[in-house]
C-alpha cells in the first residue's frame, strides 16, 4: 500500500452508534474488542473488517488524549489511516449504570438456565451475559461508584 502523503502518523477514529456519530478523534493506536479477542490497530494497518464483541475501545495518544469507550456488538473497519467503529451500544464507562448491568447479568443467567436445548436462546443468553460482564468490568476499571 502506497504511503499516504499527509503522513501525520495518526489514525482518524470514528465511533458510530445507531443514534449518532459519538466520536470523531485521532489516535496513535486503537484497541478494539473484536468478537474473537482484543486487537490493536496502528497507523498503516492492513485493511480489515471484523465483528465487534463486547468490551472497551481504547484510544491512545491522540490529539485529544487517551479515551475509553464501552462498546457492544457491531463492526469495525480498519484502513491504513482510518478506523470506523459501528457499535450497537457505545458509551463512556462513566455512564454505565452498574445496577442495570447487574440486572442484565442476572437476566442473562436466568435465560441461560431456561434455554433448554434451543441453540438460539443459548446464544442470546450468552451474548447478554457477556455484555453485562464486560459492562461491569469496564465500570470497575474506572472506579465508577455503585
Amino acid at each position: 500500500m502506497a504511503e499516504v502523503s499527509s503522513n501525520s502518523g495518526l489514525l482518524t477514529v470514528h465511533l458510530v452508534t445507531p443514534d449518532r456519530l459519538l466520536l470523531e478523534a485521532t489516535a496513535v493506536s486503537v484497541e478494539l474488542p473484536s468478537s474473537s479477542g482484543y486487537m490493536e490497530a496502528l497507523y498503516g494497518a492492513a485493511p480489515l473488517l471484523s465483528e465487534l464483541g463486547a468490551g472497551e475501545v481504547r484510544l491512545h495518544g491522540g490529539t485529544s488524549g487517551d479515551q475509553v469507550f464501552f462498546v457492544a456488538w457491531g463492526f469495525v473497519e480498519v484502513l491504513p489511516e482510518r478506523v470506523t467503529i459501528l457499535a450497537e451500544t457505545a458509551m463512556p464507562p462513566s455512564e454505565i449504570d452498574v445496577e442495570e448491568a447487574r440486572q442484565e447479568l442476572a437476566l442473562g443467567e436466568t435465560m441461560w438456565n431456561e434455554a433448554g436445548d434451543d441453540g438460539k436462546k443459548y446464544e442470546y443468553a450468552n451474548l447478554m451475559t457477556r455484555q453485562a460482564e464486560e459492562k461491569l468490568a469496564s465500570a470497575k476499571d474506572t472506579g465508577t461508584k455503585d
Binding site: P47, L48, S50, E51
Partner: protein, 362 residues
C-alpha cells in the same frame, strides 16, 4: 340576536383556544426539529451497515455452488401466502389526517392482499395504530410446547401458530414511539425474523409516513422481507401529499421557523465509504458468518429508520394541524368581534332613537 356580553365571552374563549393551539404548534415545531435531527444522525450507521453488506455480497463464497443463489434465509423468496404488515401510526391525535391516512393506506393494502387470497398478520406500532385493530381483529395464538428428554436434562421447544382468522394481530407495540430506541426495534425484528425463518410469514411490509422534509412526505408501503436488493428501498405503494396539504405545511413551517428543506448531513461522508475501499480486506471472521450476523441488523436499521421518519412526520402533521387551528381561531375572533361591535352599535342607536323619539313626543 346574541347580546354583547355573550359575544364577549365567546371571543375570550376562542382567544384561549388560539393560545393553546399556538403553543401546541411551537411545541410540535421544536419536537419536529429534534426528530429530524435524530433521523439524520441515524443515517451514518445505516449507510455504513448496508455498505458492508453490499461489499460482502460481491464475495463469491456466499453463494450456493449448484443453484448460484445466495445463502441466507432472509433473502429467500417464497410464494406469499401469509403477509405481515407493520402499521406505524402516531401516539396521539390532533395531527390532522395523519393517523387516518395511515389507516386508510393499510386498509387498502390489506384488502388488496385479501383479494389475492393471502392471510394477513398485523403488527401495529404506536397507540393510535394499536387502537385501529383493537376492536375488530383477533389476536394471533401461538402455542409453545416443551418436550423433555434425557431425564429432563434437556428440553426442546417448538412454537406452533394456530390461525383462526384471515386477519390477526400478531403483536402490538403501543409504547415504542415514546422514545424510539434501537433495543426495542431490535427485539421486535428478532421476533419477526424468527417467524419468517420458520415460514409462519412469507413477507413483511411496513406502512408508514415517509418524511424527507416538511414538503416531501408520503404514506408508503415498503417491503422489508424478503430482501431483494441490499441498500435499495422497495416501495410497493405510495401516496403523495396533495397540493393543498403541501401549502398548509409550508405555511405552518414558515410561521414556526422550521426549514422546509431536508437537513444537510455532511458527517455521513466517511461512513458512507465504510467497507467500500478498493482494497482486499482481511476478514477477521468468515465472510459468511459476518453476513449472517449482519442481515438481521440491516432489517433492524431499516425499520428503525422508518419509525424515526414516522415520528418526525407525526410532529410535522401536528404542527400543520395546529397552525390551521390557530388560523381558524383568528378568523373566528375577527368575525365575532365584528358581530359584537354591530350589536353594541345597534343597542346604542336604539337607545338614541328612544331618547330622541321620547323628546319629540313631549
Amino acid at each position: 340576536m346574541a347580546n354583547v356580553l355573550d359575544l364577549r365571552r365567546r371571543i375570550r374563549s376562542v382567544k384561549n383556544t388560539r393560545q393553546i393551539t399556538k403553543a401546541m404548534k411551537m411545541v410540535s415545531a421544536a419536537k419536529l426539529r429534534r426528530a429530524q435531527e435524530r433521523a439524520m444522525r441515524a443515517r451514518p450507521y445505516a449507510e455504513a451497515l448496508s455498505n458492508v453488506l453490499v461489499s460482502l455480497v460481491r464475495r463469491s463464497d456466499l453463494y450456493d455452488e449448484q443453484t448460484d443463489e445466495i445463502l441466507h434465509p432472509l433473502l429467500i423468496e417464497r410464494e406469499e401466502k401469509n403477509v405481515l404488515v407493520i402499521v406505524v401510526a402516531g401516539d396521539k391525535g390532533f395531527a390532522g389526517a395523519f393517523n387516518s391516512n395511515i389507516a386508510k393506506a393499510a386498509q387498502r393494502f390489506i384488502d388488496y392482499r385479501r383479494e389475492m387470497g393471502q392471510t394477513i398478520d398485523l403488527e401495529p406500532v404506536g397507540k393510535k395504530a394499536v387502537a385501529f385493530y383493537k376492536k375488530n381483529t383477533a389476536v394471533a395464538v401461538h402455542e409453545r410446547t416443551a418436550e423433555h428428554y434425557d431425564n429432563d436434562q434437556s428440553t426442546h421447544y417448538t412454537v406452533v401458530r394456530h390461525r383462526a382468522q384471515a386477519i390477526e394481530v400478531a403483536a402490538e407495540h403501543p409504547s415504542m414511539l415514546l422514545r424510539v430506541g434501537i433495543e426495542e426495534v431490535s427485539a421486535m425484528v428478532h421476533d419477526i425474523v424468527a417467524r419468517y425463518e420458520r415460514a409462519e410469514i412469507d413477507s413483511v411490509y411496513v406502512v408508514y409516513n415517509e418524511f424527507k422534509s416538511v414538503i416531501a412526505q408520503r404514506v408508503v408501503v415498503e417491503k422489508m422481507l424478503p430482501i431483494r436488493k441490499l441498500g435499495v428501498q422497495e416501495i410497493t405503494a405510495f401516496e403523495e401529499m396533495s397540493e393543498e396539504e403541501r401549502e398548509a405545511a409550508v405555511r405552518a413551517a414558515h410561521s414556526a421557523g422550521v426549514s422546509v428543506f431536508p437537513m444537510e448531513d455532511d458527517m455521513a461522508k466517511s461512513e458512507a465509504k465504510f467497507g467500500t475501499a478498493e482494497v482486499d480486506y482481511i476478514y477477521d471472521q468468515a465472510p459468511g458468518q459476518l453476513f449472517h450476523n449482519l442481515m438481521p441488523k440491516y432489517v433492524t436499521t431499516q425499520i428503525y429508520h422508518a419509525l424515526l421518519e414516522s415520528a418526525a412526520a407525526e410532529h410535522a402533521a401536528r404542527m400543520t394541524a395546529t397552525d390551521a387551528a390557530s388560523k381558524n381561531a383568528e378568523d373566528l375572533i375577527d368575525s365575532l368581534s365584528l358581530t359584537m361591535n354591530r350589536v353594541r352599535q345597534a343597542a346604542i342607536t336604539k337607545e338614541i332613537i328612544e331618547i330622541v323619539s321620547g323628546a319629540a313626543a313631549l
